[in-house]
Symmetry: C2
Subunit: 335 residues, 2 copies
């Protein structure tokens, strides 16, 4: 057993303050508050998400990965709004005084994520209480004034685009829980690593920013599964959607898993943890959206179209048309 | 047993969205993010604090009071910085699906606090997980650009001012846990109510804003006890402090409790939950600070002086001088 950090002051000074070094308004975490001077002509975009052991990550996950993911899920929300990340505040609840080694690894993960996402720690709060380890992050980004891409503004006729590939995060979680699936699905070592990496180290699609700001009528990130999140977007926008199951963008690993187990299709569509971006793009902007995404090095796929009829229709690869239920991953509802 | 709210969407639409009605950028909580258009010439002040059942409030506390306190402790941080509250984001973790009646009462408390403090809900996150009910709030306020009152900038020679009265919150907590103290301390009914109210419904000293902005060289709120928080301010500012124990501002209820039990003095000095403001005021600004506080209807008392020698000296009422230990309430350290 290593050294445990028993005082909040030591925790801040030794482990957390270094993460605030790139932001003068964080005041070295020596104040109760941080100060942010907004840039003229920009709006601030605000989001908060909590992750807890046993619900959003596994107790066996590496501290570096827990840290990365806690920050990534928030930055992913900013990315979907076309926002540039600025700073974040973090509240951590520990069930017991953390070990120095664990904190070192946790802050290493945060540092790597900060550098990858261009965001800096501005302030926070730590305490100890019974219950699972939990990390609540409020992330702040910026967009040109009046330009935040909302999720309530998709229109019938807009195409439905998805970045990256679908379902890797959900399959990665299955693999992390049961490594016999590696062989059952017939994955190469690198395919297995890919799925696990996608589950543990989601990468917010920040490079899609220009494409979203200039071409999308609505967007959100897919964190709770395509079915549920597309359903939310449809209800919020007062539209429906038709998805073409032959167009789902699948990684070779997901294709192998699906070939080995046809039941996986449902989990690809309803599984969480993708952190890809779902965007509504009007017909007149499609070519520009694609060009912008290519320039950013992000694959985007049109899956279908938003519709006036307020239902989610899924046309399965073999031609069956079915109503898609919003059976995504609900962090609130019963397990 | 009443109706339980089993879906996050219902929880948001029915209970939380109405709290965001005063803020257009909250988008009716129908987006994952909120948008804030900063006012030119103002800085934003950011703070986060979590409260959890069993640590920061009692399971027997009323939902209205839990809600009020969760918001008040954050707004108190803004008040100490001279900031005007704007919006807040809230992440709630429920150990089980909440009952509709509990949510109604909780949101009633939030609504009352919002109106009292001039702040509006902008966004949030809810989930269910094992462990205590916890509420994590990020509050955002504004100050004129470059004017945030920090806690690291107290100077030797500045007077130490405290708003309101000392220790009522800590005594209120003792009373809430053991109502025989009411008789032991010889309190009138209204004195007992006063102490309980101070524990359950702290009132951020927002009206001290002008006094702080125009006169204080440093300030912070007293949430973890005078001894600990003054110690933090001294260490952060590289100064020490001398406190005159004859000058502690005590409510008649606290005076009675102290007369009945001399051991209470230590708890008045180190007990948490006051949410008063501790300010450093240079000699040249004392008259203005007092005048400004009087105009705002807030009592302020000078307790002593910041000093070059980096220790906390406490001169007890009977004349003994002792080093004050930072024995405040540490939400992180062992209980």
């Amino acid at each position: 057993v290593g050294t445990r950090i028993d005082s909040e002051e030591a925790l801040i000074a030794r482990f957390l303050a270094p993460l605030a070094e790139g932001f003068a308004g964080g005041l070295g975490l020596r104040d109760d508050c941080a100060v942010l001077s907004p840039v003229a002509g920009e709006d601030l975009v605000l989001t908060v998400d909590a992750v807890a052991e046993g619900v959003h990550f596994l107790s066996s996950d590496a501290p570096e990965d827990i840290a990365w993911k806690a920050l990534a899920v928030n930055v992913s929300d900013l990315a979907a709004k076309g926002a540039r990340p600025i700073v974040y505040l973090m509240s951590i609840s520990f069930p017991a005084a953390p070990e120095a080694d664990w904190m070192l690894r946790f802050t290493d993960g945060l540092r790597a994520a900060q550098q990858a996402f261009g965001i800096v720690l501005a302030g926070g709060d730590t305490d100890r209480r019974p219950g699972p380890l939990s990390v609540t992050i409020t992330a702040i980004g910026s967009v040109p004034a009046g330009r935040m891409v909302q999720r309530t503004t998709a229109r019938a006729g807009d195409l439905i685009f998805l970045s990256g590939t679908l379902g890797d995060g959900a399959l990665g979680l299955e693999l992390a829980r049961d490594d016999t699936l590696h062989a059952n699905w017939g994955l190469t070592e690198s395919e297995g690593r890919h799925l696990l990496h996608r589950y543990r180290r989601p990468e917010p699609r920040l490079r899609l920013r220009e494409a979203l700001l200039s071409c999308a009528s609505a967007a959100m990130d897919v964190s709770d599964g395509l079915a549920k999140d597309l359903g939310s977007m449809c209800r919020a926008s007062g539209v429906g959607a038709r998805i073409d199951g032959t167009r789902l963008p699948l990684h070779s690993a997901a294709r192998k898993a699906l070939a080995a187990d046809a039941g996986i299709l449902g989990r690809l569509i309803s599984g969480g943890d993708d952190y890809e971006i779902l965007a509504a793009v009007p017909a007149s902007r499609i070519a520009d959206f694609r060009a912008c995404a290519v320039a950013a090095g992000i694959t985007v796929t049109d899956l279908g179209v938003f519709d006036t009829e307020p239902v989610l229709q899924f046309r399965a690869p073999e031609g069956t048309i079915m109503a898609l239920e919003s059976g995504g991953w609900d962090h609130f509802g019963p397990r």
